[in-house]
C-alpha cells in the first residue's frame, strides 16, 4: 500500500462513514409539530458534520502539512515517554486474523454446541493460536475451565446460557442435572 494512502486511510474511512451516516440521518422522519422546532435528526447531523470536518482537516494536515505537528491532550507527553521506553512490539497479522476468526467462530458456534462444549473448545484452541504451544495444558484448562464456568454462571449466578442443539443440548441438560440445576 502506498505510504500516502496508508497515512490517510483511517481518517479517509471515517470521512466516508460520515458521508454515509449523514445520508442515513437525512432519512430520519418525524413529526416535529410544525414551526421551527428542531427534529430528531439535528443532533446526529451536527455530530456527523463535526466528525467529517475533523477527518477532512486531519487528511489535509497529513497530506499537505507537517504530520508530526500533532496536538495531544495534557498527559500526552508523559504517556508517550512511557511508551517510548517500553518500545513498540512487533505486529503479527496472522495472529490478529486468527483471533478475530476465533472470536466470531465462538459466537457462531455456541448456539449449536451449547455453552459447555463451545467454551471448552474455544478455551482449548485459543491459546494455541495465541502462541502457547502446550496442547495438553490448554485442553485441560479448557475442559476444567468450561466446567467451572458452567457451575459459576448457571449454578451460582443463575444465568441462562445456550444449551446447544441435538446431542449437544442433551449433553448440556445431563451436565446441568449433574450439577443440580433443574
Amino acid at each position: 500500500m502506498p505510504k500516502t494512502l496508508r497515512l490517510v486511510l483511517p481518517h479517509g474511512l471515517m470521512l466516508l462513514a460520515s458521508v454515509f451516516l449523514y445520508w442515513a440521518a437525512s432519512r430520519i422522519e418525524a413529526d416535529t409539530g410544525g414551526g421551527h422546532r428542531i427534529g430528531p435528526d439535528a443532533w446526529p447531523k451536527a455530530i456527523i458534520v463535526f466528525m467529517g470536518l475533523l477527518c477532512a482537516w486531519e487528511i489535509a494536515k497529513r497530506l499537505f502539512l507537517n504530520a508530526r505537528a500533532d496536538l495531544h491532550g495534557v498527559v500526552g507527553g508523559l504517556a508517550r515517554e512511557a511508551e517510548g521506553e517500553a518500545g513498540a512490539p512487533a505486529f503479527q497479522l496472522g495472529k490478529l486474523l486468527a483471533g478475530i476468526a476465533l472470536v466470531f467462530g465462538y459466537v457462531i458456534a455456541v448456539p449449536y454446541l451449547g455453552f459447555f462444549v463451545g467454551t471448552a473448545a474455544f478455551l482449548a484452541v485459543f491459546p494455541w493460536f495465541g502462541g502457547l504451544r502446550r496442547p495438553v495444558l490448554s485442553t485441560v484448562c479448557g475442559v476444567i475451565g468450561s466446567l467451572a464456568l458452567v457451575v459459576m454462571f448457571m449454578r451460582v449466578a443463575y444465568i441462562s446460557l445456550p444449551l446447544g442443539e441435538g446431542p449437544f443440548e442433551q449433553l448440556s441438560i445431563w451436565l446441568l442435572a449433574a450439577i443440580g440445576v433443574s
Binding site: 483511517p10 471515517m14 451516516l21 442515513a24 430520519i28 418525524a30 421551527h36 422546532r37 428542531i38 427534529g39 430528531p40 435528526d41 443532533w43 446526529p44 455530530i47 475533523l54 482537516w57 486531519e58 505537528a69 500533532d70 496536538l71 495531544h72 491532550g73 495534557v74 498527559v75 500526552g76 507527553g77 508523559l78 504517556a79 508517550r80 521506553e85 512490539p89 512487533a90 505486529f91 503479527q92 495472529k95 490478529l96 483471533g99 478475530i100 472470536v103 466470531f104 459466537v107 455456541v110 448456539p111 478455551l123 485459543f126 491459546p127 495465541g130 502462541g131 502457547l132 502446550r134 490448554s138 464456568l149 454462571f153 449466578a157 443463575y158 444465568i159 441462562s160 446460557l161 445456550p162
Partner: protein, 509 residues
C-alpha cells in the same frame, strides 16, 4: 452529624456477613485483575458485572466498588518488584519504584507505595463523603442548560486529558455520541440508524460498547503483538516479597508530596472521564515540576512513588462524587458501577440521596473499608499475588473473551449482542492500532443520551435559542471552562513553538 449517622448506617450494612464476604471477594478480585497479565482494572470490573445481575443491589455495588478500590493498588507490586506495570496508572512507578528495587530497597518502595495509597484513599474518601451531598444539592437546582453544560464539560475533559491526538480523541467522542443515537429517539419516537434491523430499535447498550472495545479489543491488541510468555522473572527471591514502612519522620518530611498527590487525585478524579491513570501521570508531572527533590525524580526517588500512588488511589473517591451526585461517571470503572445501578433500576443523581441514602452511604463505607482492606491485602498477599504472574497470558485472555461474552449475553439474553460486542472488539482493536483513544468513545456512548436529551429539551423550551447556554451564568461559566480546556493544548503548542523560535533566534544572535 447527619452525615456521620448515615455513614454509620452504611458501615452497619457493610458488616452483615454476606456483604462483608462480598467486600473481601471484591478486594481480592480487584488485586488479581490488577496483577494478572492481559487484564486491566476496567476489564476486571466489566467481567464481574454479570455476577451482580442476580445479586441484591447492595452486594452488587459493594463487589464492584471494592474491586475498583483494590484494583488501583495491585499493579504497584509488580511494577516495583518486576518492572511489570499491572495497570497504565503504575507506569510512573517503573521510573522510581523499580529503580529503588535495583538499589536493593524493594521493601521500602513497597512500603512507600502502601502508605501513599492508604493516605490518598482515606483522605479522598473523607472528601467524597463531605462533597457528595452538597454537590447533589447543587445539582437539584440545575435546569437542562446547566446539565447539558456539565455533560459537555465532562466530554470535553475526556478529550483534553487524553494522551492521544486531540483530533483523534474528538473523532472517537463523535463516534460514541453517534452510537448513542441509534434506536428510537426519546423525544419524537423516530427511528435513527436502525437500517431496518429490529434489534437496533432498542439502541446499542453502552455496556456492549464497553465490553467489546475494552475487553475483546484489548485481547485482540495483545494477540496481534504476541502474548507474554510464562513466568518471566516473577520467580524472584523470597527476600523481595516483603514490605518495610518508612518512619514517621520520613513521612512528615514528604507531607507536601502526599498533599499534592492526594489533592491532584481527588480533583482529577472528579473530572468526568479522567480516572486513576490520568491522576497518576498529572501528579507525577506536578511533582517533577514543583517537588522539593524534583531533580531526583525518575532515579529511584520515594517522592515519585508517593505522588503517583496517592493520586491514583485518591482518584477513586473523586470519581465517585459526580457518579453519585449527578449520575455522571468519572472514570471507566465508575461507568460500570453506573451500569450496576441502572440494572437494578436505580438512577444515581441528586434524587438517590433522598430515595436511597442507605445505598449511597454503603458505597461510601465500602471505599473506607476497601482502602484499609486493600492495604492489608497489599501487605500480606504479595507472595501469592506475584505467583499469579506465572499464569500464561494466552489462557487468561481466552477466559477474558468468555467472560466478556457471558457478561454481554446475560444482560438481555440476546445472541445478537454477541455479534455487537465482537464488532466493537474489532473496532476497539482498530482504534488502538491507529491511535484513536477508546475512553472518549465509551464516555460518548454513556453520556450521549444525557447530553442530547438536555440539549433538545433546552432548545424546545427556549425556542431554539442556543445562546441560552451561554447567557445563563452557571452553564455559561461551565461551557467557558470546557472550551478553555479544549483550547489549552493548542495554546500550549503555540507557546512552545514561540519559545523555541525565540531560543533559536537568541542562539543565532
Amino acid at each position: 452529624m447527619e452525615v456521620l449517622a448515615n455513614l454509620a448506617t452504611g458501615f452497619g450494612h457493610l458488616f452483615t456477613p454476606v456483604n462483608f464476604l462480598v467486600l473481601w471477594v471484591g478486594l481480592v478480585l480487584g488485586m488479581l485483575v490488577a496483577v494478572l497479565p492481559g487484564l486491566t482494572l476496567v476489564m476486571g470490573v466489566v467481567l464481574a458485572l454479570p455476577f451482580t445481575y442476580k445479586m441484591g443491589v447492595s452486594p452488587a455495588l459493594i463487589l464492584l466498588t471494592a474491586m475498583y478500590v483494590s484494583g488501583t493498588y495491585g499493579g504497584a507490586i509488580t511494577a516495583i518488584l518486576f518492572r511489570i506495570p499491572g495497570e497504565p496508572m503504575d507506569v510512573p512507578l517503573l521510573w522510581d519504584g523499580y529503580e529503588m528495587t535495583r538499589r536493593g530497597e524493594a521493601a521500602l518502595a513497597l512500603g512507600w507505595s502502601l502508605v501513599a495509597a492508604l493516605f490518598g484513599g482515606l483522605v479522598s474518601a473523607v472528601v467524597m463523603v463531605l462533597l457528595s451531598k452538597p454537590v447533589a444539592g447543587l445539582a437539584l437546582a440545575f435546569s437542562t442548560p446547566e446539565f447539558f453544560a456539565i455533560v459537555f464539560f465532562g466530554l470535553a475533559s475526556v478529550v483534553t486529558l487524553s494522551g492521544s491526538s486531540l483530533v483523534n480523541s474528538l473523532i472517537s467522542l463523535c463516534l460514541g455520541l453517534l452510537i448513542a443515537t441509534v434506536g428510537v429517539d426519546s423525544i419524537y419516537g423516530a427511528e435513527r440508524f436502525t437500517f431496518g434491523e429490529p434489534f437496533l430499535q432498542d439502541g446499542i447498550e453502552f455496556l456492549l460498547v464497553m465490553v467489546g472495545a475494552y475487553g475483546i479489543g484489548e485481547v485482540l491488541t495483545r494477540m496481534s503483538t504476541g502474548f507474554a510468555g510464562e513466568a518471566g522473572e516473577a520467580g524472584g527471591g523470597a527476600a523481595r516479597f516483603r514490605t518495610a514502612f518508612p518512619t514517621l519522620a520520613q513521612m512528615l518530611g514528604m507531607k507536601a508530596t502526599f498533599a499534592r498527590g492526594t489533592a491532584t487525585g481527588i480533583v482529577v478524579g472528579v473530572v468526568p472521564g479522567a480516572g486513576a491513570t490520568v491522576s497518576a501521570f498529572v501528579a507525577y508531572g506536578l511533582e517533577s515540576q514543583y517537588g522539593k527533590n524534583r531533580d531526583k525524580l525518575g532515579k529511584g526517588s520515594a517522592e515519585g512513588i508517593v505522588a503517583a500512588k496517592s493520586a491514583a488511589t485518591a482518584s477513586v473517591g473523586g470519581a465517585l462524587v459526580p457518579l453519585l451526585a449527578m449520575g455522571i461517571p468519572g472514570s471507566g470503572a465508575t461507568a460500570i458501577i453506573l451500569a450496576a445501578f441502572l440494572l437494578h433500576g436505580i438512577q444515581p443523581g441528586p434524587q438517590v440521596f433522598v430515595s436511597s441514602p442507605d445505598l449511597v452511604y454503603t458505597v461510601f463505607a465500602t471505599v473506607f473499608l476497601g482502602v484499609v482492606g486493600m492495604c492489608i491485602l497489599g501487605f500480606f498477599a504479595i507472595r501469592p499475588l506475584c505467583k499469579v504472574l506465572e499464569a500464561p497470558e494466552a489462557i487468561v485472555s481466552a477466559f477474558v473473551v468468555v467472560f466478556c461474552f457471558v457478561g454481554a449475553f446475560a444482560a438481555r439474553n440476546n445472541l445478537s449482542d454477541l455479534y455487537v460486542i465482537s464488532a466493537f472488539g474489532v473496532l476497539g482493536y482498530l482504534f488502538e492500532r491507529f491511535d484513536f483513544p477508546i475512553a472518549p468513545l465509551v464516555l460518548g456512548t454513556i453520556l450521549g443520551p444525557l447530553a442530547e436529551t438536555n440539549f433538545m429539551t433546552t432548545m424546545v423550551s427556549f425556542d431554539n435559542d442556543w445562546t441560552i447556554f451561554f447567557r445563563r451564568p452557571l452553564s455559561g461559566g461551565i461551557l467557558f471552562l470546557a472550551f478553555a480546556g479544549l483550547a489549552w493544548p493548542l495554546v500550549r503548542a503555540t507557546l512552545k513553538r514561540v519559545r523555541a523560535a525565540r531560543e533559536a533566534h537568541a542562539r543565532a544572535a
